[in-house]
Symmetry: D2
Subunit: 393 residues, 4 copies
């Protein structure tokens, strides 16, 4: 059996349906709100519409009301959802909830699933993932983790400070990564805890004002101070947090790529539409060589990103860690998406940096993607180390 | 006498004083307002402080209370002013006022100077330059000008629509470019008019929501409808507007570059300071090769931009149009500044895209510079045409 | 059935065998000749060894003694063959013979196959493809074809001049493209002719001295002057030449990419080996950030190219023209391979530009690939035109 | 006195004369030899013509028959000389002789000047500079110097191996850098020695086959084995070799840039000429946007390089080490020149990689410039270190 890139018909159909739903239902809402929604009623209405259209929560198992898409299936569908900044919210596949569902499905106990996963899948609650810390804590180097959890009778007491905790404002619970053994610098000894938002030991310190603004619930600084959780708040096993983080991070990197590829395509569509209608110096923009070069480079960047994401997804679906493939795909795609949006802005000229189209918004949203989930430099370092470390090349 | 790059001592001293003023007085105000001020009291206070520091309006003649800097002198001083987004506002050398003063000094009658230039130089009023039009009007191609001025007894009636008119909200007057002969597509037949803001025929239609937000008075869409002005509102001679536009545009391009080079240096300073203090994987960021590469590329981009700007300024000071030199300098600098700020963001990581430093703001402010005053593509086209047209290479 | 990237086991096994053969048998010969062989005995010996290793002519049908690889299978095997400049020669899959076999299999009559294809497949003879003409003839724009074929009793008389005819010196026959109707500029009216090398009307004018030198038989300028061929020299149908050219060009573009990807991997391997052993400033090169960035970018470029080639091959195997996919893959890969070899040179420093490793040779060989088979600019133009022309985006 | 970029009239006149000489006399010889000359008669004839044209050895003092150009003056004249690969040879300003003259003028005793400098200036002999060593010796890291000189009665005995010793074949003497104290890794303890070519302890081991081939006398591997030289062979003071190396290296970097800028301009001229005459798809190449972008980028790269070189030259002329400025100028120019030649090749298409124009040759010649005299990465590291080390930014 040779390599086969034919998409699964059911996936293709779902992707097509998702595309139609996003264009018809989501984009108008997005344009009305200039890409940024902070209103639970709007979110609820979008999710209701997605459920009605049969495209809601496609990544979770059929038993949870989803479509049970594997990573390759997500690649097709999430890109369509990502065509609007609000598409992932509508489908309940936005970060960080989507990655948390993935993690909970893989690691949580039956009880934890009922309590945390079920309402999350249903869109009744939101969640956050509390791992990143301000310097010199866990960031590009996860091993620098400084938040500690000490054993206390019947549970654990967590102390530490997190930031860039996406979606924390309004989240029903956090998955918090804390050090249960070892010292900052060790690549082990971390544990994940489920912390309810009403735990008095967990405080939302502030919204961080960031260049991007579209992720629902913002990016927050969160303090854990004498935050006591019971023993059954441990997610998976004690001291296995780094392993679970990998379970979450590889796929999460790829779903980020998928969603942002949607924005890249959207940007290209806006730019091409403009280039087809706008005349300059007696030619359509679309007939000017420098504009054509930008349009072509956008096509190339999108196609190349898609190929790398697919490769990584296939490796993940086969059960591998796909560490190298996801690092390659994430690094390239984050930079490619940025280039695509930037070129789209340039093609549109003054219009492109005005609020009359959403390109300026997209530019702001995608820039952090070269930093979030590992800066390009960290990934390049890891890619090169793996290459140089291979004994038998 | 060989080429001499030694700065004039008086200019060097003024640049040094400006640098100190901006760091000590302006930057704190800028950081308090996150780079965007829309409050006349703040503007007035900054200008008062600049006057007190002896650095106000350095570009206008001594007879107007300035320092009479030529373009080379401006290169040194404006870069220091540009170190803060509010520095040019404080010194009264921000766009578009600075370019308008330059134009009025060169073209206005004595009466016009007294009425329009004097209060502008003093910072008592602001102004705007109404040239750019929505597609398919004057933009990258100035010859596409569609706004018309018809002769009426005792004056002219202007009709047309402009957009991206920077600083229009609150401006006391506009310099409006309108077609007095010929048809869109002709490279002639335009005239400049001085239009008072209280002219009932001139309406501010809307603020255009743009990626950049720091230019005082915003970017507006402005309508001229049956806008009648008297004969002495003509700036210079009838039908000579394109020639005057060149008088304004070449130097204005360069002063943009100077100011943005200040932001580039500021960004580099922020990034280098961060790289010196932040540790990752057991090294200072400043000792990691990929960070060093970004720091070095920033130095190179800044130095190269500065060299190109100086070359163009020297040509302008000699009385040339410097069309090729300003196009080269503008194209390179606009892209170089963008790269510098982008790398600074990357070096700072999450911090870089947070509001805790102003880099995200700077990124938004400099992006349009690759479009304003002629998109890079239009300049490249013009550069190449001049090269290919030279008969004797 | 989801997308499946698992290689066919038989293909994987053949690729592995090819890899071993190239490393063990071909590379030593290549290094002995510094990458350039012009000796039929060496060629014959390499092909004998390939036949013995069971890796000869893998692309042709089993009935011709090959492995009947489809395009996806070729992607895996040709990349391994391309690991040495002489690998494709050894396997008899070098340009232009490989593309000509592909064309003859698709279009030739049974008689033509016996006379031309059979000995070509066997490696007994070589061939060339005479399409490109000096300016202002057929080049980036195939429609500019100026070589004409006039009907004469019993056959055709061909007149015209071709250049960059790869492999012409020593070829047993040429496939010559000539205009049989219409005028230069028309996208129709061309016919392909089989011309024996001993035809007195076909003359090898000169070897063109090119930057690349490894393609066997060189690049030649060839004159057709009163070159009479019989009616059965027509390949396929009269006036259908452009259609057949597409049959040849799409796949030929991809097999070029496959082979050059082999050289990219080889270059990366040389650079990584060097980076692992060479110390500088107290560190291994492989531990210096700027070197790691180059190593990582090479991995990314290779992976992205491979993904694009695979996509295009899959489309070709499904019977499509894959015009957009091959243009995208060719453009990206040609530039990516160039970057990879260039970075490998840089990593190796002085050694990299010395003849002590073959990187300088590789740099020379891959540069023209951004021009041959359509310059990147022509492809970008075509890519953009297709995008802008799509009615329903 | 403001900054003044007006060239000195005498320099301008010499530059103009040089330009005419190179175009009329040198270029025809270069084209006849495809850029590579290895024949003393040709070299002698070119130098005779240069002397006759009054453009010979412009950099040495008037007392030596030159024009006493400072670095700024050289910038103007050497670029014109560099317009042909053979221009520097004709003017006797080719590497490494030009740098050696500079060094000898600055450091040599009167006796040494008479014996070594005088015939070198006159073009009667050639020389070489023996510093670089194969790994792990002195290369990117000069402190890694392993060649040793031991004191012996009446002189020194040098032992070590050098490579990439440009011009060694046929040189009358070498300036050899050897360690007289300390150990590899120390940034001190080196001494320079004048070694006559007929010293039996100095052996030319082999010509290194390099990508570039135009530097007269090739790049050689040279062995010093029991090479005894008298005490008066010491150039300058013992243990001061690193300091003298800086005297030579800063200016030498800049003169390299000047010469290669000449090749960049030549390449641009060839490409522009082609773009003006060649038609494609019904347009001149020069009217196609993607070609225009390349032409414009070439202009920009050349202008920016020139500005950076001028800045560094001015600093050198003022007596500074100009370490940062020369590093910036060298890094940018080496990469810019490479881009310019590469784009010129691309513009010319197949012609560009053929021997019918010299662009392929130029591409080979300029590639090593990103490695010679310090790879770009080493310079970037040094640039960043200086920036990060500045206490008061």
């Amino acid at each position: 059996m040779p390599v086969d890139l034919t998409p699964d018909p059911a996936v293709a159909e779902l992707a097509k349906r998702t595309a139609a739903f996003v264009r018809e239902v989501v984009v108008p809402v997005e344009e009305r709100h200039a890409g940024v929604v902070r209103d639970d009623a709007v979110r609820a209405e979008l999710q209701r519409a997605a459920r009605e259209a049969g495209v809601f929560a496609p990544h979770v198992g059929v038993e949870h009301g989803g479509h049970g898409l594997d990573m390759r299936g997500r690649a097709a569908v999430f890109e369509e959802a990502g065509y609007s900044l609000l598409g992932p919210l509508a489908l309940n596949i936005a970060a960080p909830d989507e990655g948390n569902m993935h993690l909970l499905e893989a690691v949580a106990t039956q009880e934890q699933k009922e309590r945390y996963l079920a309402p999350l899948v249903a869109g009744e609650v939101r969640s956050c993932f509390a791992m990143t810390e301000p310097a010199p804590g866990a960031g590009s180097d996860p091993a620098a983790l400084t938040t500690r959890a000490e054993k206390v009778p019947g549970g654990w007491r967590i102390d530490g400070r997190k930031w860039f905790i996406t979606g924390a404002d309004g989240a029903a619970f956090a998955i918090c990564m804390a050090r249960t053994s070892g010292a900052p610098g060790d690549r082990g000894g971390a544990t994940m805890f489920l912390v309810d938002a009403d735990n008095p030991g967990m405080t939302l310190v502030r919204h961080i004002d960031t260049l991007d603004e579209s992720l629902y619930g913002g990016h927050l600084e969160v303090a854990f101070e004498g935050c006591v959780v019971p023993d059954d708040a441990v997610l998976g096993a004690v001291d296995e947090g780094y392993r679970y983080a990998q379970v979450r991070l590889g796929p999460a990197r790829m779903t980020h790529c998928m969603r942002w590829l949607g924005i890249a395509r959207r940007s290209q569509d806006i730019a091409v539409a403009r280039a087809r209608e706008r005349e300059l110096f007696g030619s359509r923009l679309a007939d000017l060589g420098m504009v054509q070069a930008m349009i072509a480079d956008n096509e190339i960047d999108i196609a190349a990103s898609r190929g790398l994401v697919l490769q990584a997804c296939w490796e993940l679906d086969r059960g591998g860690s796909a560490a190298q493939a996801t690092a390659i795909a994430k690094t390239f795609t984050a930079e490619a998406v940025w280039r695509v949006v930037d070129r789209a802005v340039q093609i549109c000229g003054s219009l492109g940096i005005s609020g009359d189209v959403l390109l300026g918004r997209f530019l702001r949203e995608v820039r952090p993607f070269r930093i979030y989930d590992g800066p390009s430099e960290t990934h390049r370092w890891a890619i090169a180390k793996r290459v140089a470390g291979r004994v038998d090349r």
